[in-house]
């Protein structure tokens, strides 16, 4: 009898103790510690607001945050799409032409090494306060990972696979669409995911430097007014936005490549 009871407890434990609850638990513990720390050490709200206060601010300012979100999403998505599209397009000639690689690649690398945050104020001078400079910064930050991964993916075709296709007398165009592109897909997606993270950072940098709207602008002004809870609320929205973009890309990856190894080791992501 005792044994059966214990087994039942173990079973319930195993059901509750799955991967998702493990992740959720670490977040829960983190927020409880945070809340307790603020409570116990009597930290003032303008220095570090407790999670509950941030939650309250989220409700209080929800319409402001919503409109700011719409603004930030626009520059984020537009910049990201332009970066992904141009990264893919440019990776093709660089991957397949030694000449273009020698001529264009160092130039791209040169622009990549410039700290893009330093360029942001200049973009304000060139493009003003509107959407274009923000799109530009998002683009600059997320373009490179797409390009680099694209080139690596397109180039790394297994020699034996090349031999196989040659022995069939296949045309280059068939090899490209049926072998090279699908085999490059996982590497491309690694780039898309890295770019999604950089793009979110880029969107905020753009709004920090010169903006009168957006989540970055809210963070900046709320900080100026010592409304730290408001600022944290905006950061929360921003984090959710970044994660949403990342997981959308990952979702697309899952749909497009159910065969890929990253889909089999799910605990990694």
């Amino acid at each position: 009898m005792i044994d059966r009871g214990r087994n039942r407890l173990l079973l319930i434990g195993r059901i509750l103790w799955n991967k998702r609850t493990q992740t959720g638990l670490s977040f829960l513990v983190f927020f409880i510690l945070w809340e307790l720390a603020v409570e116990v050490f009597k930290i003032r709200s303008y220095i570090l607001p407790a999670p509950t206060e941030i939650f309250r601010a989220l409700f209080k300012y929800h319409s402001e945050l919503f409109f700011a979100l719409l603004f930030t999403i626009r520059s984020l998505i537009l910049g990201y799409i332009v970066a992904v599209a141009s990264g893919i397009l440019l990776s093709l000639p660089v991957a397949f032409s030694k000449f273009i690689q020698r001529a264009v690649y160092p130039l791209i690398l040169f622009f990549q090494v410039i700290p893009k945050v330093a360029l942001a104020p200049i973009f304000v001078i060139w493009f003003g306060f509107g959407l274009p400079p923000k799109i530009m910064i998002v683009f600059l930050l997320s373009f490179f990972p797409v390009l680099i991964n694209g080139i690596v993916g397109l180039r790394s075709m297994d020699q034996e696979v090349i031999n196989l296709t040659r022995s069939t007398g296949a045309r280059e165009i068939d090899v490209f669409f049926k072998v090279r592109l699908p085999s490059a897909l996982p590497t491309f997606f690694a780039g898309f995911k890295l770019a999604a993270i950089s793009a979110t950072i880029g969107a905020i940098i753009g709004e920090f430097i010169g903006s009168d709207s957006g989540l970055g602008y809210i963070i900046l002004t709320a900080n100026g007014d010592l409304q730290t809870d408001y600022s944290f609320a905006a950061i929360t929205v921003l984090t959710v936005l970044g994660l949403s973009l990342y997981y959308s890309v990952e979702g697309l990856e899952r749909v497009l490549m159910p065969w890929h190894i990253s889909q089999r080791v799910k605990s990694v992501s």
Partner: protein
């Protein structure tokens, strides 16, 4: 006389240029195959037997000599062929069916005309039920079976096999040998089979070429007159063991094997 041969390898030699100097892989290899013959090439690793197959396939250029298939000189990849590589070389994103049909997709042959044949081949190698499964869900032996189907799909007269069972465990290997002999008896292809396994060669081939260590030359040619199908009793006969011993002895003579 020469043109009556299906395939002839005429004085092929191959030297690879590397950073550390030249590697002389093949030296004056001469051999020929008749239509429908199963020829095995055995030799120690590094003797250039895979290189030889690549040259026959036209995937590698010889440094000297030439290959003729049906009297025509091989220049560039020879496409009227099915190749089974040592690794299965299946594409991750295609199912078993997709990987087999890859052969005809690349050749721009109509899929619907070959699907039926693909199913026949699948049942011939006992892969039924795995048609829509991706390679990562298949065992090593199943992957190689799939790769054999791909090589046979377009019904080529010539089958080149480069240590196709080398990466498999002993039992799977034995099974695939049995299956391959069955397939060969049914399809009557000309097969060039590269291997380092002596019993495998004796079990399958009509004739065996024994190669020397690098630079690879032909050391000996051995006819195998065992009755077919060999998987029934051939591999237990005294003659079988005698032939295996004979080839092993030739490796001892060359110093490939030492006592």
């Amino acid at each position: 006389m020469e043109n009556s041969k299906f395939l002839s390898v005429q004085n092929i030699s191959k030297t690879f240029k590397t950073d550390k100097g030249n590697v002389h892989a093949l030296d004056d290899v001469v051999l020929s195959m008749t239509d429908g013959e199963f020829l095995a090439v055995v030799g120690p690793s590094g003797c250039g037997k895979s290189t030889l197959m690549m040259i026959v396939a036209g995937l590698l250029e010889a440094s000297g000599g030439k290959v003729r298939i049906r009297g025509e000189k091989v220049v560039g990849p020879f496409t009227d062929v099915g190749i089974v590589f040592q690794n299965h070389v299946l594409l991750d994103w295609l199912t078993t069916m997709g990987n087999i049909l890859f052969q005809t997709d690349m050749r721009r042959l109509p899929r619907n005309r070959y699907e039926e044949r693909a199913r026949e081949l699948i049942s011939m190698v006992s892969l039924e039920g795995f048609e829509e499964v991706y390679p990562y869900e298949l065992s090593g032996g199943m992957k190689q079976r799939c790769s054999i189907c791909r090589a046979l799909l377009h019904d080529p007269p010539l089958l080149l096999m480069d240590e196709p069972f080398g990466a498999l465990d002993a039992l799977t290997r034995d099974q695939l040998c049995i299956d391959l002999e069955k397939i060969w008896l049914q399809t009557e292809k000309t097969v060039l089979f590269i291997t380092h396994s002596v019993p495998e060669a004796v079990q399958l081939a009509d004739r065996i070429i024994v190669m020397t260590p690098r630079p690879g030359r032909i050391y000996k040619e051995i006819m195998v007159d065992l009755p077919r199908p060999r998987y029934e009793e051939g591999i237990e006969s005294e003659e079988f063991f005698h032939l295996v011993e004979q080839i092993k002895r030739s490796f001892l003579e060359q110093g490939v094997l030492r006592k």
